[in-house]
Amino acid sequence: MRTLSKPYTQLVQIIFYLSLALVAIAQIFPLIWMINFSLLKSGDFFGSYILKWPSPFQWKNYADAFKLGHVPAYLLNSAIVAVVVIAVTVIVSLMLSYVIARIDWKWNKYLAGLVMICMIVPLYSTLLPNFFIFNKIKLIDTYFALILPNIAFLIPLSVFIFIGFLETTPRAIEEAAVIDGLNLLGVVFRIIIPISKPVISSVAVLAFLNTWNEFIMAVTFIRTDTYKTLPFSLIQFTGEYASNYAAQFAVMTVIALPSVLLYMIFTEQITSSLTAGAVKG
């Protein structure tokens, strides 16, 4: 029996891996397609082939993206905004979550409710009021016009994730720390932050992806080149009627690379932290 079942399980395994490979190809194909198009001439698009071998390779698209699409300058702006947003979001929401999850206080439930209610506010409904406020306090066309609303939209979700995690960690560690003489801030910074590293990294990645791809707020609140972020490089190549598709694909590749890399590095943390709250017990 044993000798019979071995090839059988092998066959199952092969089928299993083959189907996984198919799924992987389906997932990776858009990326390959994007990179392929970024190396073609604009006129080659929408022909009868899905993929076409670039002959010759149009590296000029990348040169155009960098020079005409202002990729380096916009990349720097995106990075500045992303770094500040990630840092503030992580610190503020971690502290807020700690208060909600750990400190017994009569308004606690309502504070948690208030933060969660903010999750259902649609982005579009805030654009016009925010424009008025920012215009009044002269924040239009500054980094703050991007940083502040981005943080505001990320806090509820991050708090949600952090609370889920904190509820699974035992209180005993903190109690021990307090007995050893740590005050509240000490507990947060010396105990909670080190043990929440996986959740922090997943919140950070979420914040990064959100900020990196954010466009509608940038369009509304930013006027001049000085503060434009990466997605503006894309529309740099659309005219009233015509578009330089090849350069757009080159820009898209440049924009997508950091996200893909980050995802590959942190993918384990993200999945583990997102399910951390779910398997409580």
Binding site: G43, D44, P129, F132, K136, R223, G239, E240, A242
Partner: protein, 460 residues
């Protein structure tokens, strides 16, 4: 009881948060009153300039590409003006595609922060909300005397007998033709609508599409509808009258036009799945030699110099007018031509006087007209004969002939005459018709209802 009180407190807290967002609204409107005096102080601002004070003019354009096309023309003139007037700095903001540009324009309008000079479309649909808000300065025809403007060019920028924008282009609908693709199959460029069907018949089963058409954006379909209606009814009066309600879309000519359009779709004039082709896809289909013709405006004249396409396709391109009606009622000299784009000047900014001066300077014929024609960018709404260099492409020459020989001009196309809120429904109805999802009779009825609604909105 305590629980109830707590809940009430939370609701109050939340409500106060929400209203906090509303407050700046009031602040915004009070700032208008602050600004109003400064707007009337423009002569004062002018004096400042004469004394050499720096003035910043904000310029809002829908052409992000400043190195080609109309963005290039704008930038060349802006740079020249700043050189001639060192005290003036023009800062450019660009946004595209157009829906985003229009959204931001709305935000600027309601927040009273419209940039000094802004790209603008003619027609009540775009101008109306801004004029209603007194956001735009008005011009006189004398401001542009001697600059060779075609008289009708200002029509779509005129509201309540005042001119609120300067037209920049003469736009008209044509067919770009790949002579070789047709000749190889023993065909000639179409002269009448019947020829279109013959070509479609001959090309059936081959991998060449008779006419490449951008069906995903509904506006080209709207232009096609206008052209077909003109041919069936013998001119452009029908849709003009139907929209201003001195006529009706229930006219039999509209039903025959709708039927003709569906016949075209059924006989494969636009190929399979043309409703899924977007602008670039349709253009590339023609540029790669996979379509015999391409229906688009004169602004695509650069297609024959686009090095992304193979040489033998580019060297065989010509432009012809939309084919005449079979019965000769509407010849090719009835041209669907309009003056769509232009620029307006904000009346509420503190530099609006300087901005108006710049806008008028920009449209001296040796500035805009010469720049766009000699760079092969577009057809100005002004005369450009004196700027011919002899290096014009075949397509440029063909287009010039089409425009010169036209006897009847349509003026604003139908979609631009609808109100802002009804134009989408109108274009959706046309798309539905071309997707064969409605009958010609139902279609005529539904757009007539939309026209009635639009008319009520535009003339309350």
């Amino acid at each position: 009881m305590k629980k109830f009180l707590n809940t009430v407190t939370v609701i109050v807290m939340f409500a106060s948060l929400v209203t906090a967002c509303g407050k700046p609204d009031q602040a915004g409107s009070s700032s208008t009153t602050d600004k109003a005096p400064s707007a009337t102080n423009t002569p004062n601002a002018d004096k400042k300039t004469e004394s050499g004070q720096k003035v910043e003019i904000k310029f809002f354009s829908n052409n992000p590409d400043r190195g080609g096309g109309q963005g290039k023309a704008e930038q060349l003139l802006i740079d020249q003006y700043m050189k001639e007037n060192p005290n003036i700095k023009i800062s450019v903001e660009t946004l595209s595609p157009d829906p985003q540009f229009q959204d931001k324009l709305k935000i600027y309008n309601v927040s009273e922060t419209l940039p000094d000079v802004t790209m603008m479309w003619g027609g009540a649909r775009y101008l109306g909300p801004l004029v209603k808000n007194n956001a735009l300065v008005s011009f006189n025809k004398e401001d542009f005397a001697g600059q060779g403007f075609i008289d009708a060019a200002f029509d779509s920028f005129t509201l309540n007998n005042k001119i609120y924008g300067i037209p920049k282009n003469t736009d008209f609908l044509v067919l770009y033709v790949n002579k070789k693709v047709l000749a190889d199959r023993g065909l000639e460029p179409p002269k009448t609508e019947a020829d279109l069907f013959k070509i479609a018949e001959k090309l059936k089963g081959t991998n060449v599409v008779p006419i490449a058409l951008d069906g995903r954006d509904s506006w080209p379909l709207g232009l096609l509808f206008d052209a077909v209606v003109a041919r069936q009814s013998g001119g452009f009066d029908l849709y003009h009258k139907a929209i201003d309600r001195s006529g009706s879309f229930k006219d039999p000519a509209v039903i025959t036009s709708a039927k003709k359009l569906q016949d075209m779709v059924k006989s494969g004039v636009f190929g399979e799945g043309f409703l899924n082709l977007d602008y670039g896809a349709a253009r590339n289909l023609f540029g790669q030699g996979k379509a015999a013709m391409y229906l688009m405006g004169q602004w695509e004249m650069g297609v024959s110099t686009d090095t992304n396409f193979p040489d033998d396709v580019r060297s065989n391109m010509i432009a012809i007018p939309y084919p005449a009606s079979d019965d000769g009622k509407s010849p090719t000299t009835d041209l669907l031509a309009w003056f769509g784009g232009g620029y307006s000047v904000s009346s509420k900014s503190k530099n609006s006087g300087e901005a108006k001066k710049f806008a008028i300077w920009m449209f001296k014929k040796e500035n805009w007209s010469k720049t766009v024609w000699q760079n092969g960018i577009t057809f100005p709404a002004q005369s450009y004969d004196e700027f011919n260099t002899g290096k014009e492409t075949q397509i440029q020459k063909d287009l010039t002939n089409i425009l010169k020989s036209a006897k009847v001009f349509s003026g604003a196309n139908s979609q631009d005459r609808f109100s802002a809120s009804t134009s989408k429904g109108y274009l959706d109805a046309i798309t539905e018709l071309l997707a064969l999802k409605s009958t010609p009779e139902k279609f005529a009825e539904s757009i007539d209802v939309i026209a009635e609604k639009s008319n009520k909105e535009l003339n309350p």
